[in-house]
Point group: C2
Chain length 114, copies 2
């Protein structure tokens, strides 16, 4: 019994490490949010996130695509590359919204106490 609790704990540790591996880093969450917000083109995403360079955007988009959180397709209509959420990643929209709230309130919390 105590042992299975310990194993559960270690499983959760690994799952959390995976999670942070996939959405970690300075830009992945902002990029996902930008796409979620309607920006589907490279240039648009880049301009929607202050401080983000095209190099980091390129790299992070590639990693997000490898993890199947977004897709990259050439649009037949516009003839531009478009980035979109996958069905898979849409499930986690609310998780992201909570992180946004968390970041906002946390900033206030830390600022007011220093």
């Amino acid at each position: 019994m105590a042992k299975s609790v310990k194993i559960d704990q270690q499983e959760a540790s690994k799952a959390l490490a995976d999670t942070i591996y996939v959405i970690g880093g300075k830009w992945k969450l902002p990029i996902l949010h930008s796409i979620c917000n309607g920006n589907i083109r490279f240039k648009d995403i880049e301009e929607s996130i202050p401080g983000l360079s095209n190099r980091m955007l390129s790299r992070n988009l590639k990693e997000l695509e490898e993890n199947k959180l977004i897709t990259r397709v050439m649009s037949n209509e516009t003839l531009f590359y478009e980035y979109h959420f996958t069905e898979y990643s849409k499930e986690y929209g609310d998780l992201m919204l909570k992180m946004i709230e968390w970041g906002k309130s946390h900033r206030k919390k830390i600022i007011q106490s220093t």
Copy 2:
């Protein structure tokens, strides 16, 4: 109108960058979860997370304390240092649970497709 949407977007970007700054890195989420799971002593936390060295644990605990996500107190009863969640961080327990689920299901998703 379009402008305020853009500003909202940039605000969210910053909030998400803050969030990932505070809970980012390989070990912060596993550490928080371990404490949440009843481990309150340095040694216990260390042993509950495979691969975590005492050096990284020490550093990350300090940072989490600075961000007011945990407290570190000497217990009068046991005479050991104890780490606890703050009222503040308890609000985000469900956020962490979702990340655990996410990590678990994501691992399955990626493994099956390769």
